[in-house]
């Protein structure tokens, strides 16, 4: 029997408890030992206003990407759920309320839309909840009860997480919720006894640390906290806002502060000011805000000030698709702003890396005295994965700044041209090392100087410094049997999970293919990437953007035959699309 790999959706209107139900599924299945990847979506279109959809892919092996198809749909609002019908797999199971208070017409009926193969599990969610608990507020849990009974989830998985979630709200609330769940479970066990559709076989328990459900955004927030963040300056923008909200709650008790600024320009300005004064500070934004920040980011490059900027990418250009995912800010992150303003850009590919890279970014910013851009995307920020609670190593948290020693007192040259390009940096309050930093080109002492030789020398110093950071950046990771490959797939960001899933499948079908994960976007490991590319007959770079921005950056390492696979759909990259392209390329090369 093939392993468990099921995608479950809950769809409803705001107020139906949709997100709560989806969250409970994630928690329950995670606690039950499954691997879970969850991704909620809230379409911004007016037509879909108020619609909430949670998707959870549940498996007994590590889940790398979202699947195209949904196997179980739990509808808390049939009219909203009609929009989900196109993604339903054949033989999917549909749980819906079959006793709405009024008759529904065909146009508004979910049962009218689904394929005939869809397995319908109509249950009177509201009636059962009211009967069991005296209120229909728990009808979402009644629906979960039905799902558990039919699909073979041990009810205790849910009872435990329901208890955890509702116990703080008092015994009464907890009791009502447990009863609502049980009512759905018992009803389904009795009424659907002949049609149970067991989908979940309990996997072996994961060894080691307890696994927690964590979103990319929360992992970033936790990473920043663990790294000793002092100040967060930001301006609300989807999809980065949850980071600010998380830190606003957590940072004060650690002696830090979150300040909501008047715009993104002032946010990065304050981050640079705080960085200049020696405090770990950061901001998080998305494309439009990042665009506003670019002038000051290059000021940080020029004046050599540490700063951490998280760009949670969404669909663009301009306001674009605020609630959709895209990877189209790579070029802005690497090149955005006036002049040759090289900076460090890193991009995590999963939630664990969101945490680790955020932690590391503060140290990198201090050591290389430069803004560090962490590039995530809507899908990565909002999806939840279950993983062992991430922890940071002391080495990764340690301060990165190199301070001047006392011998430099009186003759301190803030921008001393060293071999590494890193100049010892003082911070305000240190006696004997005062200096003025500037966005003008300047001498080693920081004095403005536009002379030809000086600009050449100082430009070279700054770029040498950034290239030198490569030693501290994560190397590309290859997923292949090694040696010559028919197709090598190179990718970054959240798309890499889809790439890896496609490549794993292709390998299991006997194809000689491999994947290369790039997380250091700038500077990048040209030698490692070039070596991988030279071993592959074809190179495929799938990206969620229209122009192939990573391909634009690195394909010179290969030549002009890099195959691009660009999707600008606003949706996570479907692994199946990558797989079929891989197979085409292998076939064409054979």
């Amino acid at each position: 029997m093939p392993g468990v790999d099921v995608t479950v959706e809950v769809c409803g209107m705001a107020g139906d408890g949709t997100i709560a139900a989806g969250g409970l599924i994630n928690e329950a299945m995670s606690a039950g030992g499954f691997s879970v990847l969850g991704f909620d979506s809230y379409p911004a279109e007016i037509r879909g206003f108020g619609r909430c959809v949670t998707r959870s892919r549940i498996g007994d092996e590590e889940i790398l990407a979202m699947e195209d198809e949904t196997h179980v749909l739990i509808s808390l609002n049939d009219q909203q759920s009609i929009s989900r019908v196109p993604v339903l797999a054949k033989d999917s199971a549909l749980f819906f309320d079959n006793n709405p208070p009024t008759y529904v017409t065909e146009e508004k009926s979910l049962a009218a839309e689904v394929d005939p193969e869809t397995m319908l599990f109509g249950m009177p969610f509201s009636d059962l909840a009211v009967e069991a608990a005296g209120t229909d507020r728990g009808r979402n849990l009644t629906a979960l009860g039905g799902f558990a009974a039919v699909c073979g989830v041990p009810p205790d998985f849910f009872r435990r997480v329901i208890t955890k979630k509702f116990k703080p709200k008092g015994e009464k609330v907890l009791d009502a919720n447990l009863k609502s769940f049980d009512a759905g479970y018992d009803y389904a066990k009795e009424h659907f006894a002949a049609r149970l559709k067991t989908m979940f076989v309990e996997p072996e328990r994961f060894e080691g640390r307890e696994r927690v459900m964590l979103s990319g955004n929360l992992a970033i927030g936790k990473g920043a906290l663990d790294a000793g963040l002092k100040l967060y300056f930001g301006y609300p923008i989807t999809p980065a806002t949850p980071i600010m909200e998380y830190l606003a709650k957590m940072l004060p008790e650690r002696g830090g502060a979150v300040i909501q600024m008047e715009d993104e320009i002032s946010s990065i300005g304050a981050v640079l000011g705080a960085g200049f004064a020696g405090a770990r500070s950061m901001t998080a934004t998305s494309g439009p805000g990042f665009a506003l920040m670019t002038e000051l980011i290059t000021h940080g490059v020029m004046a050599e000030i540490p700063a951490v900027i998280l760009n949670a990418q969404r669909g663009g250009p301009s306001t674009g698709l605020p609630t959709k995912t895209e990877q189209s800010d790579l070029q802005a992150a690497v090149f955005g702003g006036p002049g040759d303003s090289g900076r460090i850009v890193i991009a995590p590919t999963n939630v664990a890396e969101c945490y680790a890279f955020t932690v590391k970014s503060f140290q990198l910013a201090e050591k290389y005295q430069t803004p560090v851009v962490v590039l995530t995307d809507f899908f990565l920020d909002n999806r939840v994965e279950n993983l062992p609670m991430p922890e940071a190593a002391e080495d990764d948290i340690a301060g990165g700044n190199i301070f001047p020693d006392d011998s430099a007192k009186g003759s301190y040259r803030r921008y001393l041209d060293t071999e590494t390009g890193i100049s010892p940096r003082s911070v305000p309050g240190m006696e004997g090392f005062t200096f003025s930093a500037t966005g003008l080109e300047h001498t080693e002492r920081g004095t403005p100087d536009y002379s030809p030789d000086n600009h050449m020398k100082m430009s070279d110093k700054r770029h040498r410094k950034i290239q030198g950071a490569l030693a501290d950046l994560p190397e590309p990771r290859e997923f292949s049997p090694g040696g010559k490959l028919d197709v090598g797939v190179v990718g970054w960001g959240s798309t890499f999970g889809s790439i890896l899933e496609a490549v794993n499948t292709a390998q299991s079908r006997g194809l000689k293919v491999g994947a290369l994960k790039i997380t250091a976007i700038f500077p990048y490991h040209g030698d490692v990437i070039g070596e991988f590319m030279s071993r592959c007959s074809r190179i495929l770079i799938p990206e969620l953007n229209h122009s192939g921005q990573l391909a634009n950056l690195i394909s010179h390492l290969r030549g002009n035959d890099v195959v691009r696979l660009n999707l600008a759909t606003g949706m996570p990259f479907p692994p199946s699309a990558i797989l079929s392209r891989i197979e085409e390329l292998v076939k064409a090369g054979a």
């Binding site: 006793n99 529904v104 065909e106 049962a111 009218a112 193969e117 002949a194």
Partner: protein, 338 residues
């Protein structure tokens, strides 16, 4: 006025023949087929072989989604009609959905009949009409060695063959005066009994079951007026009855099935019935008859569809089709007096 919408209740041979005939003759009409069972249209005659393991599950099914999509016929499965309002021309599904129709063909078939005295024991007996029933048999047969068949009809003979194939011990309790769907003449009864005994089946002629007691999950004690036995499964085979209970409150003319004239028209305009659920008027004898059998059902379905579209095609009541089951010839057109 909105687009014409023909709804067909049922997903058997009559219903599907009606749906595709409608489409062949009218490319514009909206067509919806509503089947109560979750499965696509299947071949009931293969169910015993499926139980025996000689036919794969996927081979049971005739229907697939694609032809419906190609013909723009909306197929809904696993959805039950619970009421029809002929006044407002709306029908109501179990999940409180209301569907408007301009034309309706009732072809909801028949379901296994449990004689009244045995109704209280319904949960202790298995029937065999649908793939879901067959799956039940398969599940239960995994745990038991002996099966008692009560009543008797064509299906029970095929099932008996399947049970023997599986090495089960079968007892046959020939009950009552009929061997559905035909009157149980003494010649037929002797013929059936002889064939059963030849195969090592114990045949008992007992007229009445007095009691049934569930002894365990896999054993039922059955007491008849002449003996008591303990069996693993009890199969009830008393023929079929039209599945029209949901129409009782609708005001439609119903006797056992939906009463229709020789054009298959019911007592309501633009509402027709076909297949196992219809009782068709025979102008020659001034009485109603019902039919079973795949070919008959298809024929009736087609006729109902054509007449709904405005043709006036009478049913061919002279049609006689001989069904051969297990070497016994059975005439599938019969009168309703049994």
């Amino acid at each position: 006025m909105a687009q014409e919408h023909c709804v067909i209740i049922g997903n058997g041979p009559a219903a599907n023949a009606a749906a595709f005939t409608l489409r062949e003759n009218d490319s514009d009409v909206r067509i919806t087929v509503i089947g109560e069972e979750c499965d696509h249209q299947y071949r009931p005659d293969l169910l015993p072989d499926y139980i025996a393991g000689t036919v794969a599950e996927e081979d049971l099914f005739i229907g697939r989604s694609e032809p419906y999509k190609q013909c723009d016929i909306k197929l809904r499965l696993g959805q039950r009609v619970v009421n029809v309002d002929f006044q407002s021309r709306e029908l109501v599904l179990e999940h409180n959905e209301m569907i408007r129709f301009t034309g309706l063909i009732i072809a909801c078939g028949a379901k296994p009949r449990i004689p009244e005295p045995l109704e209280v024991f319904e949960d202790l007996m298995l029937t065999l009409k649908t793939p879901a029933d067959a799956r039940d048999w398969i599940d239960r047969l995994a745990h038991v060695d002996d099966v008692l068949i009560v009543g008797g009809d064509l299906t029970s003979l095929s099932l008996t063959r399947a049970l023997l194939h599986l090495g089960k011990r079968v007892t046959f309790l020939i009950n009552g005066g009929s061997f559905w769907p035909v009157p149980f003449s003494s010649e037929l009864r002797d013929e059936v009994a002889r064939r059963l005994i030849e195969r090592g089946i114990e045949v008992t002629e007992c007229s009445k079951i007095r009691r049934m007691v569930k002894v365990s999950d896999h054993a039922v004690e059955v007491r008849t007026d002449c003996r008591t036995m303990t069996v693993g499964i009890l199969g009830a085979f008393f023929g079929l009855v039209p599945n029209v209970k949901f129409l009782a409150r609708s005001g439609l003319d119903i006797e056992r099935g939906v009463l229709v004239d020789e054009y298959l028209k019911t007592s309501v305009d633009n509402v027709y019935a076909a297949g196992d659920c219809a009782q068709v008027y025979h102008p020659g004898i001034h009485d109603y008859w019902v039919s079973i059998g795949y070919a008959n059902a298809v024929e009736l379905g087609k006729t109902a569809a054509l007449n709904l579209l405005g043709d006036m095609v009478p049913v061919n009541v002279e049609r006689e089709s001989i069904l051969k089951i297990d070497g016994i010839n059975v005439n599938t057109s019969w009168w309703t007096e049994f």
